[in-house]
């Protein structure tokens, strides 16, 4: 028993270091992050113009007005880099395809948790050059309305962290398909497009017709974007916000377990060709 405790303590340090390494690695790609911010802003301008015009034409819908729709657009653009939707991670996919993943199995680090820690570091890093400027540019150009109390920001920070973890773990589970099929490009492009749509990137999930909203809410995607946006923008407060974070914890456990099962099955299936 003492040995197990000791082991866990030792590994916690490793994961913390992986997280820091992920952060530092991303920090070196300054031009890449600037490029990401620029593209986020162009899409943000187009989306915000369309949304504000739609609000103007209808006098508001699904509880949104001009200020809150602006907050929705610019927070979601700012979080996009952290959620790893657009550049569906291919490094791990490539390791699965080539069989290099076998080497990862030999390391004293859990493959799923180790990759998660490194990606959380990357995600947290992108929030500085992409998330914060995106909010600033949005508030300077479109005048978004943000909450004034500290509560939404504290719970929002937790929600963003959970969203980043869910988004990585679900991409991890998707990547595991690579143990059975050679090329996962089709799956990844479908995940990227359908995922961003169901997550509420292009239009808020709240304005989906009922049937489409039911489909979206039966997937983990809204927990990756719409939920942190709702919590951070103060659209949901108090117990409603806590319930949303509860849904995120549920999806974290579901996609985490799915990834573990697939990883274990893939490990049994893995056959390394000579070398």
């Amino acid at each position: 028993m003492p040995a197990t405790v000791l082991d866990l303590r030792g590994t916690a340090g490793v994961y913390r270091r992986l997280l820091v390494a992920g952060f530092r690695r991303q920090w070196h790609y300054k031009l890449a992050m600037f490029a990401g911010l620029f593209t986020n802003c162009v899409f943000g301008f187009v989306r915000a113009s369309v949304m504000v015009a739609a609000i103007g034409a209808t006098g508001g819908f699904a509880g949104y007005d001009a200020g809150s729709i602006g907050a929705y657009v610019w927070i979601s653009q700012g979080l996009l880099g952290a959620m790893q939707f657009m550049a569906a991670e291919i490094e791990l996919a490539e390791r699965v395809r080539t069989g290099d993943i076998a080497i990862d199995f030999l390391r004293p680090v859990d493959v799923q948790l180790g990759n998660l820690a490194a990606d959380l570091g990357r995600a947290l890093c992108t929030l500085i050059p992409r998330g914060i400027p995106s909010l600033l540019i949005g508030s300077l150009t479109f005048g978004l309305v943000l909450p004034t109390a500290p509560g939404p920001y504290l719970l929002g920070a937790l929600s963003i962290l959970l969203a980043a973890a869910i988004s990585y773990l679900s991409l991890f589970a998707l990547t595991m398909i690579g143990f059975w099929v050679v090329e996962t490009r089709g799956f990844r492009s479908l995940y990227q497009t359908a995922g961003t749509f169901l997550a509420g990137l292009f239009v808020p999930v709240h304005i989906f017709p009922d049937w489409l909203r039911a489909i979206a809410e039966s997937t983990p995607f809204p927990s990756m974007l719409q939920v942190p946006v709702d919590v951070l923008s103060g659209r949901a407060t108090g117990w409603d916000a806590a319930a949303l974070v509860g849904t995120q914890i549920f999806w974290l456990l579901v996609v985490g377990a799915l990834g573990r099962v697939m990883l274990a099955a893939g490990r049994r299936k893995l056959e390394v060709q000579g070398g």
Binding site: A32, G186, T193
Partner: protein, 281 residues
């Protein structure tokens, strides 16, 4: 059934003409993709879904707003169909120019420089993904639905405008991919920047330009004139008034818009290739 060694004589004759080599490469790319049927079917199914989801984005918004920027859902079908059909066709031809930063980083672009043909033409024919036809098909279905559901005064004029628009818009989007490729020589690390005018341009083209504030209107009507790919033609087809300062005959100016983008593309590509220094390898 796959022919490998025996070539019919007419193909050899074609290979002697100036564009023969490119035609031969394209033919082989198309044949190669048809050999692995299951892989192709899953790719095509994926691309169809992508097209459907992109349409759903537009549909959900118009379903909620009813009228946006002077257009209703039926008009939005035309807008989406025209711009997305052209974008999918341009992507079929030039979409893989996105991969240029990878080629540069690995030092593989040098291979293209060694061959006695223009690098750009070689790159364009280096990959030809038939799965992208699936996306064009979705756009075509939306466009035809839009043409049926709207009250359009059919004449030689309108047919001519539709054909002219699709051809010029395809050329325009293809030009944007080349502009992006030219920038990649400088932006190896920051390749995502160019998505703002390829994919961002396509995204802006599916929205009614009248909703944009003035700086964006100038951007999408003049600098990167994607408004010519669908918005102006849609207004002309439906006889709708455009935003102030944009008369309806602008719809016929898509060749000028496409030519302008290709001036940018030519300049950017030349600038980029002159700047290129091999990454080794």
């Amino acid at each position: 059934m796959v022919e490998t060694t025996v070539r019919p004589p007419e193909r050899r004759a074609a290979a002697n003409s100036r564009f023969g080599p490119y035609a031969a490469v394209l033919r082989s790319r198309i044949r190669a993709q048809r050999v692995y049927r299951l892989s192709f079917a899953s790719d095509a199914a994926g691309a169809t879904m992508v097209g459907l989801v992109e349409f759903a984005e537009v549909w959900v918004l118009f379903n909620q707003a009813k009228v946006l920027g002077g257009l209703d859902l039926d008009a939005a079908l035309l807008l989406f169909g025209l711009s997305n059909l052209a974008f999918a066709l341009a992507q079929l031809m030039c979409g893989h120019l996105d991969k240029l930063p990878g080629l540069i980083r690995l030092g593989m672009l040098d291979i293209y420089h060694l061959r006695p043909q223009p690098v750009l033409l070689q790159l364009i024919t280096s990959d030809f993904s038939l799965r992208r036809l699936a996306r064009a098909t979705v756009a075509l279905v939306v466009l035809v639905t839009g043409l049926v559901r709207n009250d359009i005064g059919w004449s030689v004029h309108t047919v001519g405008l539709i054909v002219l628009t699709v051809v010029c818009a395809t050329v325009l989007f293809a030009g944007l991919f080349v502009v992006a490729a030219g920038c990649q020589f400088f932006l190896i690390d920051g390749a995502e920047l160019t998505n703002s005018f390829t994919y961002g341009g396509s995204f802006a083209a599916t929205q009614p330009a009248s909703v944009f504030p003035t700086p964006l209107k100038l951007l999408f009507c003049l600098a990167i004139p994607v408004a010519f790919t669908a918005y102006f033609p849609t207004l002309a087809l439906l006889g709708l008034p455009g935003p102030a300062g944009f008369p309806s005959w602008l719809a016929w100016w898509s060749p000028m818009a496409a030519a302008w983008v290709w001036v940018l593309a030519w300049g950017m590509w030349r600038f980029g290739t002159r700047h290129y220094q091999s990454g080794g390898g």
